[in-house]
């Protein structure tokens, strides 16, 4: 290596930077199409279906191009990058509106020919902040029950049946359980389910109040499901509700006959169980029938000002909310909020099996409480409290209460940072 070589290499390097630096920041590609940068968190089995829609749009016309990014931590990336279009969960929509990161989606919907009555009530509710639609409703994804028909003949509808099922399975093989509670992961759905099925409203003055006595009782029931009834194994770890459903008891792992999990796992469970896969509504674990979950909405970044990009976004929405296109999303297992697409699904329940089943659940769907920084307010609950519920045999209600006080204190402080 002599100095000449190094000098050459370095100048090549500098050339690369200048090229790299130039390639950022402008919104038109080489093809002269106006680019719309679209980011979402669809990294599961549903991602491929959204990609199919985006590709379809890009080849359907020659004026615009949607460039899609699918990222696990897409919220972080959205905050630090330059994106025009973003998928936001119903629970985060208010936060993003308050933080001035998104704009009113109404005008875009109008241009795309979409009106409020094109969507179901749950969908409209999911996209609305302060009486305006800040997110175009995409889907509602409730907690979904999958079951293994080799072990359960019929979908359990309440906890008593699950408990009985658990006892039967345990007598056959001590590695077989009725269902699994995760230690962490999708635990938000389990927390909101305990509230919804007991008629408890967690939101209070903009923060989540977990210290309500009957809520603590409800959570203790989860603890009993593991340590008293043996319906679920203990300490299943991250995403344990799903992982345990995919294991096999013959190999010495703990296996469950039923899982209550996210519909995005549909591809994976379908692959494993094929014809033996059963799908059912969220069973009543507590007092009343109710299902919870979350919703996806599509929002426009506050930074979008370019008229061409605006037109492109409307054009994309128009394409997306055409039943035959959005049906792709239903095929992934998600349940669209778009009524015309729902009609299409009802006509073909074979092809859109999961969406058709989940659509029936929407009558009892209870949306998560609306608070600023919902995910952050839930953090302590998700990372600490549910782990304690499923891993500490001797947990008392008092001990739980002091944890709930910690979680509530944190939630209050987070709400105050608004």
């Amino acid at each position: 290596m002599n100095m000449k070589k190094i000098g050459a290499a370095a100048s090549t390097g500098l050339l690369v930077f200048s090229l790299a630096a130039c390639s950022g920041g402008d919104s038109s590609s080489d093809s002269g199409k106006t680019q719309i940068k679209f980011i979402n968190g669809f990294t599961g089995g549903d991602g491929a279906f959204m990609t199919k829609i985006v590709d379809g749009f890009n080849s359907s016309q020659d004026e615009f191009e949607v460039v899609q990014s699918q990222e696990k931590d897409h919220y972080t990336k959205f905050k630090s990058g330059n994106y025009d279009l973003v998928v936001i969960h119903e629970t985060s929509l208010e936060t993003y509106q308050k933080d001035q990161l998104i704009q009113d989606a109404g005008p875009y919907m109008e241009t795309a020919g979409l009106a409020e009555d094109d969507f179901n009530a749950a969908g409209i509710q999911s996209g609305t902040v302060e009486d305006k639609l800040f997110g175009v409703p995409l889907d509602i994804h409730p907690l979904t029950m999958f079951y293994n028909e080799e072990l359960v003949s019929e979908a359990p509808t309440d906890y008593e049946q699950l408990k009985a099922l658990g006892e039967t399975l345990q007598s056959e093989n001590e590695n077989l359980y009725a269902f699994g509670l995760p230690s962490t992961g999708l635990t938000t759905f389990y927390f909101t389910a305990a509230a919804a099925q007991n008629g408890i409203d967690l939101a209070k003055d903009g923060y989540l109040d977990f210290t309500q006595s009957d809520y603590a009782d409800a959570l203790m029931q989860y603890h009993d499901m593991v340590f008293k009834d043996n319906t679920s194994p203990e300490k299943l770890g991250l995403d344990g509700e799903f992982q345990a459903f995919m294991k096999s008891a013959d190999e010495g792992a703990k296996q469950t006959a039923v899982t209550m999990t996210g519909p995005w796992y549909y591809q994976a469970v379908k692959e494993k169980y094929a014809d033996n896969l059963g799908i059912g509504a969220m069973p009543t674990l507590f007092e009343t029938a109710a299902t919870t979950g979350n919703a996806h909405t599509i929002s426009v970044a506050a930074s979008v000002e370019d008229e061409e990009v605006k037109d492109g976004i409307s054009e994309f929405l128009k394409y997306l909310y055409t039943p035959e296109n959005l049906a792709n999303w239903a095929e992934s297992g998600q349940t669209p909020s778009h009524l015309a697409t729902l009609d299409l699904i009802t006509e073909d329940p074979e092809k859109y099996e999961l969406a058709a089943k989940n659509q029936k659940q929407l009558d009892t769907y209870v949306a998560a409480p609306r608070v600023y920084q919902f995910d952050e307010q839930m953090r302590y609950m998700n990372e600490v409290v549910f782990t304690k519920l499923t891993s500490e045999p001797n947990l008392t209600k008092d001990a739980l209460m002091s944890e709930l006080e910690k979680a509530t204190k944190a939630a209050k402080q987070i709400a105050d940072t608004q």
């Binding site: 933080d99 770890g237 792992a253 990372e383 782990t387 891993s391 940072t417």
Partner: protein, 337 residues
């Protein structure tokens, strides 16, 4: 020196100075400035608030205090758990390699250094699945061997979660420290051992009175750099345990990340980062001071070997210095460590 050379010297220094200014000094000052403001990641600056961010972090029972203190405690825990094995095991491996037949030395050195070429994310992926709780490979082996009766929840239970992170870290980074020790052992003057052999010294005494003093400086260097590396724990915790169970392996950098990207508080996050930097500098300073103090009691003079080599290097002139960079290195060593 001519004017021309002044000018040329200036040109030579400019690339470094510009880079240092733009990517180090300005960010440092900007970071201090941000930490004194209510600075949100999403909308930017909401005004000057003085030391409020620092006060919030250091006031018991605020969310930021809990994030910072929990993750600081966890990070210190990791340092206590990981640094001793990272030093002792690497020294052990180096001693082992030192005593192997010549032909095999290179092979084993390569094997133990191999995992250093794997990125932290790949290391985490391997250990995450290897130590799966429900039906993972390690559990299956232990169950089959009858060593455990029920599966161990490796990544979801303490102390196992720390154990997995520490094992993964040792496997991943031990090779680097090992190489430093291998080299230091190579440098030890063989005649010292020969003299000791004539005196009939035991292996332990040879190690204690010859090897250890000779590798003292490199050991201090390894200790300081290992502590700094362990302070920066991030990837293993993030990917293997996700900071769990119950936030017990959440590291400082994870906590700062949550504050900046989760809570949107770039101001508070910058203050945390500065505090973390100050703590690291303090701990490094203390280590430096302790080793310097004990060095003084040690009659700080160059060892025989060092003197010999210096003399050789000076006599032989520049062409030979290449082969003996250590002549200068020992000086540096005393400067830093």
């Amino acid at each position: 020196m001519t004017n021309k050379s002044k000018w040329l010297g200036f040109i030579f220094v400019v690339p470094f100075l510009v880079s240092f200014l733009v990517f180090w000094l300005i960010p440092l000052l900007y970071g201090i400035w941000i930490s004194l403001h209510d600075f949100r990641l999403s909308v930017g600056n909401n005004g000057f608030i003085g030391l409020k961010n620092y006060v919030d972090i250091l006031t018991p029972d605020t969310i930021y205090n809990r994030t910072f203190m929990t993750s600081l405690k966890n990070t210190l825990m990791f340092i206590v758990l990981s640094v001793p094995p990272l030093i002792l095991i690497s020294l052990g491996l180096a001693l082992l390699i030192e005593h192997l037949p010549k032909k095999l030395k290179t092979f084993f050195r390569t094997v133990f250094f191999l995992s250093y070429s794997i990125s932290v994310t790949a290391v985490s992926a391997i250990y995450l699945w290897l130590f799966g709780a429900n039906g993972g490979y390690i559990n299956n082996i232990l169950m089959k061997a009858g060593l455990i009766s029920s599966p161990i929840n490796w990544t979801g239970d303490q102390p196992y979660a720390w154990l997995v992170i520490v094992i993964a870290t040792i496997w991943w980074t031990i090779g680097f420290n090992m190489l430093l020790f291998v080299n230091a052992l190579d440098e030890v003057d063989g005649t010292l051992y020969e003299a000791a052999d004539l005196d009939g010294a035991s292996a332990w005494n040879k190690f204690r009175f010859i090897t250890l003093p000779e590798i003292r400086n490199i050991s201090i260097f390894v200790m300081i750099t290992t502590v700094i590396a362990s302070f920066n724990l991030y990837g293993q915790s993030l990917l293997i345990t996700r900071g769990g169970p119950e936030q017990s392996t959440s590291s400082l950098i994870m906590g700062i990340n949550t504050t900046v990207f989760g809570n949107n508080q770039l101001g508070v996050g910058s203050a945390m980062a500065l505090l973390m930097g100050v703590i690291m500098m303090l701990i490094t300073g203390i280590q430096y001071w302790i080793s310097y103090k004990s060095d003084k009691d040690d009659l700080a003079k160059p060892s025989r070997k060092e003197r010999k080599r210096l003399k050789r290097a000076v006599n032989a002139g520049p062409t030979n210095v290449n082969q003996h960079p250590a002549a200068t290195i020992d000086k540096k060593e005393r400067k830093i460590t």
